[in-house]
Amino acid sequence: MKNKLDDALGIDREGTDADKRIRTKRKMLSAISPVRKRLKVTAVATVPSKLHREVYDAHEAPMELGELIWKEGQKKLPVSRDARNVIEGAGHVWKFYKKLFNRNSIDNMGLAIIQTIKYRENPDEPFFNAFWDGEQMFYGTGQKKFTKSFTSDLDIIAHELTHGVVDYEARLKYEFQPGALNESFADVFGILIKQWVNKTPAKKSDWLIGKNILIGVNALRSMKEPGKAYKNDPVFDDDEQVAHMKYYKKLPNTENGDYGGVHINSGIPNQAFYIAATELAGYAWEKAGVIWYAALTDDKLLNKNSDFVDCARATMKKAVSLFGKGSIESKAVELGWKETGVI
């Protein structure tokens, strides 16, 4: 990808190696960590368990990284609202995983969280999206007429960074049921991180994902009522998510088929988590969240090909091992998967 802003400003980054060095280091970390995991080498002491964030500004131009505008340790925050949102958002995500699960960043190896704001893939196409590319985050400012900036919601920042966590753990394939589980884990930890930051109990949460991004629309998704986040919207049409196996959408494994409906059928495991968490009441991250995290990080229970039934079994097994057989926790998890028709 060309850095058109650099071209316009006459900056020759090919000649300098700052960007290249950063990306190479991150590529090495990304490449090393899964190998370490397979070899069962645990995080070593030389990897500092310290939060490290860097924020780059792509200035609404197509570029891979952008201009460095802030890094960990700088006391003065950038003026940009987007920059502040992602600095704060990534900080919350890192702290959540560290405090609750003693996880050392996305890869559990202290990976720096690199984020590019005001990203575009083409100068004439405002980017209304956010994603983790396996190495870093990219955020668009949105399509002014119908979306706000994609840094506007903490749960979206947490959702995308959790795709990174999934990539280092169960590595769920991005298609059909494994892909829908990948999406669902991202939604589950997205909402949990928002609830944790705001200290919202399960029963008081609205369980909406991306509440602030779409203009005139409730939210991107509802974990409480999958498929009911929006209806007949002139821009976004209907929320296509389903909440029960009897409505499971069989779509082709193509880009146009949403890789077998990963964003559509994820409503089913989302609903299962919502049922379990609200059945248990209290704070969802204290019980249901712990169970889901334990399942996600156990490679004997979940792997790249795991389907909904595997996930149901994994979470039920973890509920028993963590809280006991016949416990209210194990019953709540079972209820979630039963109510959605998975088991």
Binding site: N122, N129, W132, D133
Partner: protein
């Protein structure tokens, strides 16, 4: 020639499309495709990433990298971007 731009993926997972009638000579069309076509299959799928494809009226479809549009064809793509609407599945 009638050309359709198909945009898929994103955090919403919706498909959007837009069509434009544009006068392309065979040479120009070939030049455009040469510049934007994604020839290699992605080694790994990126969750929530956006993808683009161009479809000709005969149904031929190619995956495109919209960051590689030559300046000469940028106005054509601008028109396509402006018309993008969600497709019912």
């Amino acid at each position: 020639m009638q050309v359709k731009l198909i945009k898929t993926g994103g955090v919403l997972g919706k498909t959007m499309s837009s069509s434009q009638e544009w006068e392309f000579s065979e040479k120009e069309w070939g030049e455009l495709i040469e510049a934007v076509e994604k020839k290699e299959k992605a080694s790994k799928r990126i969750p929530d990433a956006t993808n683009y494809a161009l479809q000709k009226e005969n149904g031929d479809e190619i995956r495109v990298d919209i960051s590689s549009v030559p300046p000469k064809y940028q106005s054509f793509f601008k028109k396509l971007f402006e018309g993008l609407k969600v497709e019912k599945r």
